[in-house]
Amino acid sequence: MKEINELEEKIKEWEKLKAALINRMAVSLARIASGYGKYAEKSHIIPYRIYVDTNDLRSKEVDRLLDNQMIKHVRWYIHNPRSDSNYYLLFIEYEHYLKERKVNEKKTYVPIELEVDKKNYEILSIKTHGDERALVLLSLLTTLNEEAILTKLMEKIRDQINEILQHIARILKTEWREVNAL
């Protein structure tokens, strides 16, 4: 039957696109996680968990995409990998709303477990447990904004380190004055 064949073709096309997008997202996330992990493993100053928000990206393309899908914001969370594990736990949170009523509908979490070889940051496995439609949309967002997410992540790490260094400098300066006064 012609109709069944057409449906089968469309489903196959969808499966292929979904696999390609999720795999591409895994590569992006591994890059993002490794960018974070390299620093997180070296210093306790780096927070245990860090996130990048779509508000941080400030891109018209992202805004339009979110608006079309009635999504308020997307947030990529990256957990500091435990020293005895290869796992990076990532989850993506998004909030969508009913545009007509301008009210928040609900927050949804799409958890993604990424096993990455820490030596060369190769992806060993990826497990996704999210709603398929959300997953594809988020894969798309991650894939298209990989550079921007990574840049923002590095900025956040740098700001965090700067803040702590300035704090230490302030303490030392006060103490130095106290020492000089003696």
Binding site: M1, E3, I4, E6, L7, K10, I11, E13, W14, E15, K16, L17, A19, A20, L21, I22, N23, R24, A26, V27, L65, N68, I123, S125, I126, K127, T128, D131, E132, R133, V136, L140, T143, L144
Partner: protein, 158 residues
């Protein structure tokens, strides 16, 4: 007469079973596929030929898989309803609110329209997949080819 009715019921069961196979398979592979499909009689009997023959004004079919058990096809008129349930054991169950005469009428129409119903049903499964594909391709733009041709990425285990 009884044998004729039995054949009618069997034909309807076979039809729902065919639909169930298509729906459950598609739904398991791709959850963009709607979990419930409703077909209105106007979509399969535009010129009211079948309806006027049997004497029913309005009718609709609701097809839906229910988790772990099987598949339901609810056939409804404004005041009556019958359900053809296919369980995956497989056992067929026909639950009816209607009296026997009405039940037979609903099954008769279903039987007469089954190939049109199947065509419309498949179209309703296909449409949301096509629409989503289109949206994603539009967003990807010229990155689409690069993404789909990168076969090395598809080697990852999931």
């Amino acid at each position: 007469m009884e044998a004729k009715n039995r054949r009618l019921v069997d034909r309807c069961y076979k039809f729902v079973e065919d639909i169930a196979k298509i729906h459950v398979d598609a739904f398991n592979r791709c959850n963009i596929i709607p979990s419930e499909v409703t077909i209105n009689i106007n979509e399969v009997d535009k010129h009211k030929k079948i309806r006027s023959k049997i004497g029913i004004g309005y009718m609709e079919w609701i097809f839906s898989p229910y988790p772990f058990h099987g598949y339901d096809c609810v056939i409804k008129t404004k005041s009556d309803k019958i359900t053809i349930s296919i369980t995956f054991r497989p056992t067929y169950i026909l639950r009816a609110v209607s009296d026997d005469e009405m039940k037979l009428k609903l099954l008769q129409i279903t039987s007469m329209l089954r190939s049109r119903l199947k065509r419309v049903f498949i179209r309703k499964l296909k449409e949301p997949v096509e629409k989503t594909l289109q949206t994603v391709y539009q967003i990807l733009g010229d990155k689409k080819e690069e993404l789909l041709s990168d076969s090395s990425l598809l080697q990852l285990g999931m």
